[in-house]
Symmetry: D2
Subunit: 170 residues, 4 copies
């Protein structure tokens, strides 16, 4: 088991693993870049997509982000496979709005580049732009659970948008 562990502990490998996991759950890096671009284009008129890509890539390279992705997507998988004990199984599977553990789990992602990340996350979590709205709907179908996934994506987008905002002012 140690070897498997060591293999993934390398940051670059773990980033690739996380990008694959997001892909397997229906979210491409491009979908996240779309949200970041939409969040920031009103503040930065000549914003380039590459700048957003770069920010998302840096966020995905952070260890705390990778661990939150691993943990959150695992809980979504387990809920789909009905392998969680009750009442957690029902709480996760129904995406109960008071559950709140999904938002807590991604707090460290939002906080990566200061407090603007939190504001962006709150906004994205309520408005559900692009892929987030699509996955939110899909998660309501039987056998599908995206309770943690949509918060993970929202938090990555929010953190990347904050990073773009900070850099545009330097």
């Amino acid at each position: 088991m140690k070897d498997v562990h060591e293999t993934f502990m390398n940051g670059e490998n773990l980033k690739q693993k996380c990008i694959e996991m997001l892909h397997d759950r229906g979210c491409e890096v491009d979908d996240i870049i779309d949200i970041v671009f939409d969040l920031q284009k009103k503040y930065i008129p000549n914003l380039k997509r590459e700048v957003c890509w770069d920010a998302v890539d840096r966020v995905l390279g952070k260890r705390e982000v990778q661990y939150a992705i691993l943990t959150g997507i695992e809980l979504d998988y387990l809920a789909e496979e009905e392998k969680l004990r009750e009442p957690l199984q029902s709480l996760v599977n129904s995406d109960n709005p008071l559950f709140g553990i999904d938002e807590i789990l991604v707090l460290s992602i939002c906080n990566l580049y200061g407090s603007i990340g939190l504001t962006n996350f709150g906004y994205v979590d309520k408005v559900k732009p692009g892929i987030i709205g699509k996955l939110d709907l899909e998660g309501k179908q039987t056998g599908k659970c995206h309770t943690f996934l949509d918060d993970i994506i929202g938090a990555i987008a929010a953190a990347a948008a904050s990073s773009v905002a900070h850099n545009s002012h330097d």
Copy 2:
């Protein structure tokens, strides 16, 4: 000095003091109730205004909220009076979007009733409904500073909305 301190340390007195301070800065409790009602009426069709009033009142009764109000409004006053040292004076006075200390200061208010508070705060901070938008505009005038005030109001409304959401599910 001790006596002055003791007088205000009583929770009920301090709540009244905070309501007066908000009033002096241009925000009535009713303005905050408006935001809470708007945030929650889409989720609770038969929502009553009294329920929102009660929630705002409970939030204003919390010590951590009172201390955040005292500190934030003081910094706004000092910025208006140009009594802060540079570069803080300019950062607060211009409501620099990367300053972030205003959002940090109110985090403990948002967190009072679980993580929905954070989401609500992020949304309100971006959309600036009602009194928040009005004060935000007013704060851009010479001699006026509402850098901390709008976040304080947003956080109180967000926490009260979370409390309403929790209670409606019990």
Copy 3:
């Protein structure tokens, strides 16, 4: 599935369920009271155990605490049963000090009664008094995993200690 869910959504039932889960994992409510008492007795000379008991009871009655207990203990169980996908399985099972998701999960517990909770949690997490140290050691044995449990207990104790501190000053 709905029925099971409804049964537990009642706050009092869910509190009992959580107390049983903690017991099954080796932690009694009394063990948590011990930590709270030790944390606060240096500040409150005539501190009574009942006051600490009452505070722990109130913390366990909070929904966000109950959901964190359900989620964290589930992840410990799944790690013991080797049912998590790699590399999460190894990260949780080895209680990797950089994993950090265990500390994040309990943040909302620590924050229940203001920022003293955070300070208390940080201290308890490093010093590992009483049951926390015992479970930390036990978790290092093959087939045992208490990665999330010790942070949950530390956070409950920290929040209860903050509540005791606040009340003693009112």
Copy 4:
């Protein structure tokens, strides 16, 4: 006023300004490095002081850290000069343990490198090693206030220690 502002908005200038402010309040960068070294040497036997210096330097280069330093030290100055309105003046001046705004203000510093920062901060805040204990005592004298300063130093040390921990595992 704009010019003054622009001058300091440059990251490197602002870092130097913050180091001077810490010096003027009685804390050298070396004092912070001492705490970081002590926090991490038990985990990393061959830890070098340069590594800790580098981590503290990187923390001091972050904008959210610089803004927290500017704001916190300003409030300490204003309390010493008795320029805050009551009851804030008494709350800050007496370093009231339930005030909590000082801990909140530095949360974004603690969170810079993941959740270990929070644990380190909680520990340091309770144990008060080195310069923190010295300033805490000094702040209790008439005319002196270090209510925010000791939390700022603790948070910088905690964040730097987390950075050292992360890097030693890569």
